[in-house]
């Protein structure tokens, strides 16, 4: 009972001491909660988007695999010969059942020259019932109850996924036009799938057809892309071993879950980097909390002293302040959950394109609300808020009862701590420098981020010393220009060094994040532009229409090369073919190029500095070049030999050189086209680089290509200028989410400045009163507060830009390199930095408008009397 009374007493004290103060200082409360809300919502939105993308993939793999616990997949290319099946009959003797399937993406025409990528799943309708994870809705009962597969054997009949059917109002008998490679193919709806089992794979945006029709549609005669096996559980390992020993090395036998873990491994860098970026908003939010709580403790020091005199222990005070932070954290995080869910769909759309382009083709329509992610976001918000409040809470707990009769001692404390803080700052800088030299941990640049974080903390700790030196300098500069008010403003900031430092540090960190990202993205963009200018030297670029619509494996047939070469005005045609393959458990791309043409026309850049002509002429037979990201990801370099799976078996390839490439982060291995065709048994061509004869305009040659070839083939031809634009468009879409995340960090940082100004204004009310007494007009006080805001903004910008430069070096040379393996040439977007400077200065001064109005409205006699 006594404990209960104590609890009620503590609750009552919390209500009176904390809650009422929060309500009384509602502007500060709202600003603080907004900061936490923004941080948590961004963190949650990115978390939900990432989780949705990966769980959609996981879900689809599960639904397609159904009860299968083993699958045979090609290690290279998209399919393998179905003759393998004839050697699998012994599986039935071992109690296992199996069925072949084909999966691939095709493009569906949806009218008005629009198209969308969908998945085609070709199955054996006569397979064991255990594989039939799909159901067809009864068209007479609104698709509620499944019926048998009536009508699916109609010629060109396909079953349509429920989402696709409902979006395009498809029903039995409707015709669907598909773009496959450079062809059109018309199929007919035989039924609509329910949203259960396989029908819900790919978000219900799929077509299921018979295996033979699938082979016809995809032009894969005698080929399958997977064999699903249901093995008795106790025999899985045994069967896997036996299959591995009997099957060609160009295929692999793994549980279906292996693909999920493989994709998780592949996307890890992208996923974690997104998390790290979203974490920045939370980090800036932490500084805001620290700021708020430190200001609270400074402001309420005499009250805390009084509570201590009245008998409250330092532990009670510590709990009280932490409870206040937890309250802020809980309210801000709850609102953050709400806002995060609202913006998660936007975040998903922002990252979906990158996932789809780089890693897997899946529709990512709407986020899945994962309770675990919600909980993690909430706990992260509350946890970080609490951690950020610990220094202020410890400071509050250390308030001596004597403080009841004193004021502002913390500012003296900060002053005294300036030197030790500076020393701590240099320890952080040392740690930062050292950790920047350490390698990645499991392909994640942990030490790179640690280095950035310690650098940020270093600047935060150095800030009091910096401001102590720099404020008087600025005061001397401003006084002749702006008069007395500027001197008063600078001196006021100097006297409250503690909170000024926190405000400037918070703003600096927000700005530094933005600047560093801008430098990194700007440098990356310039590098890509340079790379495109040097590498994309052909006049025209041609690829199948379905490829432009999102189909990854779309190909021209081999005879297109000679037909294209025969078009008037075409000097040379450089074909390119590629296939995915697995290397060291990760996906990469195997490319086939005509190096005789590369040598003559193209201009690849190599890490060794050797000329394109020299390297290209050396690629013969079992030699190759690899992209920089492949080289870094797998730790291989020029002179090494790698074993690559071809259809004909594992081939040792000698790496002639490593070339710069920015197409994807999974990496390329490029061999001579003849070698590729022979060993991949693949004559198809993914794209052509077309060189136009002198005296011919590329645009007019493009017209000729269309007029001569479009009768039999559907394709897209871009000029090099258009292709470069397209590359930059994709680049900008990829980084759109990054800019958005950092704009939010800046908003949080500006809130911090506003917060500091409110506290400063409140704390200086007596000073304002006295200044009014001695004749400073309200306009002068307004000017003084606005100057304070401007000075905070100015130093925030100056230190932020400097820190931003350092962080950008870490991002470019450590974090990016370890995550994606791309070499980025350092360039500084001066225009962006200048714009940021102007915007931040304007926003900082604007954030001082309300505090300035409050300060100028101070009633002199009232303030002085109350003291």
């Amino acid at each position: 009972m006594r404990e209960f009374d104590h609890f009620l007493g503590a609750l009552s004290l919390f209500r009176k001491f904390v809650l009422r103060d929060c309500l009384h200082n509602y502007v500060r409360t709202v600003i603080t909660i907004c900061g936490i809300t923004l941080g948590v919502s961004v963190f949650l939105a990115i978390g939900l988007a990432n989780k949705t993308a990966l769980s959609s993939f996981h879900d689809t793999v599960d639904r397609v695999a159904g009860k299968a616990n083993l699958e045979i997949r090609p290690l290279t290319g998209r399919s393998f010969d179905q003759s393998i099946l004839t050697g699998l009959t012994w599986l039935e003797m071992a109690g296992a059942v199996y069925t072949p399937i084909i999966t691939d993406d095709v493009v569906m025409s949806v009218g008005d020259d629009k198209s969308e990528p969908i998945q085609l799943l070709a199955v054996d309708y006569f397979a064991d019932d255990a594989f039939k994870g799909y159901e067809v809705a009864d068209s007479d009962s609104s698709g509620e109850s499944p019926t048998s597969l009536n009508g699916v054997f109609k010629h060109l009949g396909v079953l349509v996924g429920h989402a696709l059917a409902s979006e395009h109002k498809l029903s039995e008998g409707d015709k669907i036009e598909l773009a496959v490679d450079d062809r059109r193919f018309e199929v007919q709806v035989s039924g609509v799938l329910t949203d259960k089992g396989t029908g819900a794979a790919y978000g219900g945006r799929l077509l299921i057809c018979d295996l033979s029709l699938g082979q016809e549609i995809l032009d894969l005669p005698g080929q399958v892309s997977q064999v699903e096996i249901i093995s008795p559980p106790q025999k899985i390992e045994l069967l896997q071993e036996k299959l591995k020993s009997e099957l060609p090395v160009s295929v692999t036998v793994e549980p279906a879950s292996t693909r999920t873990s493989q994709i998780e491994k592949m996307t890890r860098s992208f996923e974690y980097n997104l998390y790290a970026l979203s974490f920045i908003a939370l980090l800036v939010g932490m500084f805001l909390i620290y700021n708020t709580m430190a200001i609270t403790v400074i402001r309420r020091r005499p009250e805390l002293g009084t509570l201590r005199i009245l008998g409250l222990s330092s532990r009670n005070i510590l709990s009280l302040i932490l409870a206040e932070a937890i309250l802020f954290g809980a309210v801000g995080s709850l609102l953050g959950l709400f806002c995060g869910v609202l913006i998660a769909d936007w975040a998903l759309q922002a990252v979906a394109m990158t996932y789809q382009r780089l890693y897997f083709s899946l529709p990512l329509d709407s986020v899945r609300l994962e309770p675990v992610i919600l909980l993690v976001a909430f706990l992260t918000g509350v946890g970080l808020t609490t951690v950020a409040a610990v220094p202020a809470a410890l400071e509050a707990a250390a308030v001596s009862p004597a403080e009841a009769t004193r004021k502002m001692s913390i500012e003296l404390n900060i002053d005294r701590w300036t030197l030790p803080f500076a020393m701590v700052a240099f320890v952080f800088f040392g740690l930062s420098a050292y950790s920047s030299t350490l390698p990645a941990l499991a392909n994640f640049p942990f030490f790179g981020y640690f280095s950035a974080l310690t650098c940020v903390f270093g600047v935060a700790f150095l800030m009091p010393a910096l401001l102590k030196r720099m404020l008087p300098v600025l005061g001397r500069i401003l006084y002749p220009l702006m008069g007395l008010e500027s001197r008063l403003a600078v001196s006021s900031l100097g006297r409250t060094l503690g909170r000024s430092s926190v405000a400037v540090a918070t703003l600096s960190i927000g700005i530094a994040m933005l600047i560093s990202l801008a430098i990194m993205i700007g440098s990356f963009r310039e590098t890509v532009i340079d790379w495109a200018r040097q590498t994309l030297v052909a006049d025209l670029w041609m690829r199948p229409a379905s490829s432009d619509g999102g189909s990854k494996n779309a190909r021209f047939s081999a005879h297109m090369e000679s037909r294209l070469a025969a078009v008037t005005g075409v000097e040379a045609v450089e074909p390119w073919t590629e296939s995915d393959f697995e290397y060291a458990g990760m996906k990469a791309t195997l490319g086939g190029a005509r190096f005789d043409l590369v040598e003559k026309y193209s201009n690849l850049n190599y890490l060794s500095g050797r000329s394109n002509r020299e390297v290209a002429s050396s690629i013969r037979g079992k030699s190759c070049i690899v992209s920089e990201s492949f080289s870094i990801k797998h730790g291989v370099q020029a002179g090494d030999t790698i074993e690559v799976p071809f259809k004909t078996g594992l081939m040792p390839l000698y790496i002639q050189d490593v070339y710069y490439d920015y197409v994807n982060d999974t990496g390329f291995v490029v061999v001579n086209r003849d070698f590729y065709r022979k060993n991949m048994k693949d004559d198809g061509i993914n794209s052509f680089a077309i060189f136009v004869k002198k005296g011919y305009e590329p645009v007019s040659v493009r017209k000729r290509i269309f007029s001569e070839l479009s009768g039999q083939s559907r394709f897209v031809v871009r000029t090099t200028g258009e292709l470069r634009e397209r590359i930059l468009e994709i680049f900008d879409q990829t980084f759109a989410v990054t800019y958005a995340l950092h704009a939010i960090s800046i908003v949080v940082a500006i809130l911090s400045v506003m917060n500091a100004l409110f506290a400063l204004t409140e704390e200086s009310r007596r000073e304002f009163g006295i200044l009014k007494y001695i004749g400073l007009p309200a306009k002068g006080i307004k000017k003084m507060v606005l100057t304070e805001a401007g000075v905070l903004g100015l130093y925030g910008c100056v230190f932020g830009i400097m820190l931003g430069f350092v962080l950008s070096l870490l991002l470019i040379y450590v974090i990016n390199k370890q995550s994606f393996g791309w070499t980025i040439r350092f360039t500084v977007p001066f225009d962006f930095i200048a714009q940021t400077f102007v915007i931040i200065m304007f926003t900082s001064i604007a954030s001082g408008l309300i505090p300035a109005r409050l300060a100028s409205a101070t009633q002199a006699p009232e303030v002085v009397r109350s003291e």
Binding site: G9, F17, H24, E303, R308, L310, G311, S400, A404, T405
Partner: protein, 247 residues
């Protein structure tokens, strides 16, 4: 440890009740020098204050009155010397013990009232009893009785900002005595009040002293205020220059 000391103090009170020397305060050669200062705020003080006394500490600003009060309240620790309350040395107590000591045995009154601005008048007064963990019914009855007695019952729901200076200081007095401490330390209790309100507060202190026998030690620079006390101790430059019984 804390409880043992406080129990000792309580036992002592029980044993010596009636003989007038309960919780006597004894200072032996007490000096206090603040960090970074060259002079002692109080220097080599020897002083004895008997339980139930009403003592005024007089002297100009900076003479060491407030420092002496802080030392007596265990808020500051002496640089040298010994302070004993009821025979127990304050220096031997840790922070928690001093907190407990202040909670149970001391009441404080300040020049600038130091009321908690987010607490109503009544909530400010209730606070020491609530921190001590008394049950609600007890707190209600004690506080109601006290507020009615000092004439603030009708303004119990007001926030400090809504009160006059005199009302604020009377609230502070109520808060200082509501838990029936043995000693009340008052630092310039009338220093921020007009003469009328100052007199009211002094009258209240005298009444409390007369009724409850609480030791009151009041720092003041006013001779008129000091006249209310039984004993006046004059200080200058951290030393006692005179110690007289008032007529």
């Amino acid at each position: 440890m804390t409880e043992r000391i406080l129990e000792n103090l309580a036992d002592e009170r029980g044993n010596r009740e009636g003989d007038g020397c309960l919780l006597d305060i004894v200072l032996k050669q007490v000096s206090k020098r603040y960090t970074g200062r060259h002079l002692d705020a109080v220097k080599e003080l020897d002083l004895e204050i008997r339980q139930g006394s009403f003592v005024a500490l007089l002297g100009p600003s900076g003479c060491g009155k407030s420092t002496l009060l802080n030392l007596l309240g265990g808020i500051d620790r002496p640089t040298e010397g010994v302070i004993e309350v009821g025979g127990l040395s304050l220096q031997s107590m840790g922070d928690d013990q001093l907190t407990e000591f202040r909670l149970k045995k001391l009441g404080f009154i300040f020049q600038f009232f130091n009321l908690l601005p987010t607490f109503t008048l009544e909530e400010n007064v209730r606070l020491p009893l609530e921190i001590a963990g008394h049950d609600r019914a007890f707190v209600d009855s004690e506080v109601t009785e006290l507020l009615d007695k000092i004439g603030l019952g009708e303004r119990r729901g007001y926030l400090p900002a809504q009160l006059s200076g005199g009302e604020m200081q009377r609230t502070a007095v109520a808060r200082a005595i509501v838990h029936k401490p043995a000693i009340v330390l008052a630092d310039e209790p009338t220093g921020n009040l007009d003469s009328e309100n100052g007199e009211k507060v002094l009258a209240l202190l005298s009444e409390i002293h007369a009724e409850s026998g609480i030791t009151i030690i009041m720092a003041t620079h006013s001779n008129e205020a000091a006249a209310c006390a039984e004993r006046s101790i004059r200080m200058r430059d951290g030393r006692i220059v005179s110690d007289e019984r008032n007529a």
